[in-house]
């Protein structure tokens, strides 16, 4: 063999990584380039793309439904992400008291997050049915007057809340991550703080939160990305209704692409979404640099 060792290992390395290289080329690099080009085109699926410059992006500014979709997504993010994080963290802290039967509790809380999304949609459509649903029956049985019983998925004022409640059911995934992080916090920290006279609230604020801040940041960023991509639940349960109250950005994008066949416009929407994700992540990272505590 006349190959130098460095050349040999290069070939071996490339060979091992060849699936990834092909995958990146076919499913990332080419599609990203193509999608950017499409976003500058008028592209009704059956005709070839026509270059029209920035017209799609300009059209977005004048499309009232874009604003509705952004508003809905924003509301969902601003309500759903913090509530989800607080619930996950709360559950994790309760379990971290090291109660007996922790494994059982953990299973009960975690199980909903592995239920197939579509099955949980079907289930929650029933649970939140205004007439016969479980929740409204419970509300009636505790004496809430009929006029104040929410219509959930049938009421534009409640439909987003309904989706958030359904999302909360799946907060067990976050819980498991928080629990792992909480269990990593050295006990000595709490002990010495207690000796110094710090109460539970101060210990939480000055030890727990800083020590698990990396995982909090991680779930926050993932939550933001997830919210911008929130699609299937709305697609199955409400189709965006009533009155566009659950028309989320991704759902609108999907409809534009696969029902209206405006591939150019939907590509432009996807790029705007990508840029929003980048900006949000950048801001969060920037702010968190000052707040998040990394041990290493």
């Amino acid at each position: 063999m006349s190959l130098k060792p460095s050349q040999r290992s290069m070939i071996v390395g490339l060979a091992f990584c060849s699936p990834l290289i092909v995958g990146l080329a076919v499913f990332t690099v080419y599609p990203v380039a193509a999608s950017f080009y499409f976003s500058l085109c008028d592209y009704p699926i059956f005709d070839p793309p026509q270059f029209i410059g920035l017209a799609n992006y300009r059209e977005m500014f004048e499309d009232p439904r874009i604003y509705i979709a952004l508003y809905n997504t924003f509301i969902y993010a601003i309500l759903g992400i913090p509530v989800g994080m607080v619930c996950g963290l709360g559950l994790a802290m309760l379990l971290n008291v090291k109660v007996k039967g922790m494994a059982v509790y953990r299973t009960v809380f975690f199980l909903p997050s592995v239920v197939p999304m579509i099955a949980s949609c079907v289930l929650w459509l029933q649970v939140l049915n205004p007439q016969n649903g479980l929740l409204n029956r419970l509300l009636r049985s505790v004496g809430i007057p009929e006029s104040q019983i929410p219509g959930w998925f049938l009421d534009p004022d409640w439909s987003k809340i309904a989706l958030i409640i359904m999302g909360l059911w799946g907060c067990g995934g976050g819980m498991v991550m928080y629990l792992a992080a909480l269990q990593d916090v050295p006990v000595e920290l709490y002990e010495s703080a207690e000796i110094d006279g710090a109460g539970p609230l101060r210990r939480f604020r000055h030890i727990t939160i800083p020590m698990i801040s990396p995982i909090l940041l991680f779930t926050l960023v993932m939550g933001m990305i997830g919210t911008l991509q929130y699609f299937a639940q709305a697609y199955v349960m409400t189709g965006g209704g009533p009155l566009d109250s659950t028309l989320f950005y991704s759902l609108y994008l999907f409809n534009v692409a696969f029902s209206e066949y405006k591939l150019g416009y939907s590509s432009a929407m996807a790029w705007v979404m990508f840029i929003v994700i980048l900006i949000c992540t950048f801001i969060v990272m920037r702010v968190s640099n000052k707040v998040v505590y990394y041990r290493q």
């Binding site: 460095s6 290992s9 290069m10 071996v12 390395g13 060979a15 091992f16 990584c17 699936p19 990834l20 290289i21 092909v22 995958g23 990146l24 499913f27 080419y30 599609p31 990203v32 193509a34 999608s35 499409f38 559950l91 309760l94 008291v97 109660v99 007996k100 509790y105 299973t107 009960v108 809380f109 199980l111 592995v114 239920v115 197939p116 999304m117 579509i118 099955a119 079907v122 289930l123 929650w124 029933q126 649970v127 016969n132 479980l134 419970l138 498991v176 991550m177 792992a180 992080a181 991680f218 990305i225 199955v236 999907f254 591939l263 939907s266 590509s267 929407m269 996807a270 990508f274 994700i277």
Partner: protein
Amino acid sequence: MARRMATRWHIIAHIILVGLGILFALPFTWLISTSLKVDSKIFAENTELVPRAPFVVVTDEVLSEHARVAAQTAASPGTVGAGLKPAPTDREQAEALGTGQIREEAAPLPSPGETVRVRPLKQQGDYTLVQVYRGVRVSKEQFWVKEGAIQDKFFLNWHNYSEALKDFDFTLYLKNTLRICVLTVFGTVMSCSLVAYGLACVKWKGRELLFWLMLSTMMLPGQVTMIPVFLTFKKLGWIGSILPLVVPSFLGNAFFIFLLRQFYRTIPTELAEAARIDGCSELGIWWRIMFPLSKPALAVVGLFTFIGTWNDFLGPLIYLIDDRQYTLSIGLAMFQGQYGGFWGQMMAVSTMMVLPIVILFFFTQKTFIQGVKLSGIKG
């Protein structure tokens, strides 16, 4: 003192956990119990978690009461129609009866001494006209009975399942789903492990660059690449086949590669070095040493891929056309669209889709929790 504090906290934590646990388990319990209820109970005024159905013990007394009421209603037919409210029926019965039609005259009667399951048809005063079930089918037998004589007994209405399975081809969808799952799990485990080995254990120029390129794609939302990827598959003529759902898994997955790379880096390099000196090829080192050693991490990758594929909705929605190819997800969504009103059957189908995952979860709980923790590590 501190000890008493600690036990007090434990008690408070337990109370809150039990409360929340019930809250979290309630939708599940309701799902399964509704799937086993008779329609008249699903839509009944009071919600019960234990599936029960109305039964009547037929005695001579009951039959003579019936005869009296039947004679009365026959005498004043005007009152019968008032408040006529047929109970919700399931599809088959609705067809059998014609919608809302109640046969009244000359209905046969059950014999005394029997205990029969019944379905309330309509009410008049203290009396209810009930129809008798023979097995899962409604028979022609109808009789009037005093309200108090109807008793609820524990009864599992498997009929919901058999009815639902007439239009929901569970075995076909299951086969389709499993086929895709098995192929993607195999593809993902193999390709990710190979690539991770190349990134972690082979020293070559450019591997850092490739690694960072791969990580940066994780930020990219699928919506950006969705349309060109769709068009590529269309050009290849793969739309309407499972290829678009399966083939990409053989080309690696950034997140899982990352996970496995981190794992491979914890394995001492001496093992690989020793094998290299003994003349083992790189492929041999990967297959004989690294692959078996990384089983715990591979289990996480396999399990997550399996669950992800089982639950996937968007992929099959976009790429599958023929309903003979549908997966459980898509099948269930279609069923919901058509039979959304038939709660018992909807819940039966949902239960059938959820149960395998729940069982899988119970057997692989450790791996599962491990996986979720691992996915948080990079934070």
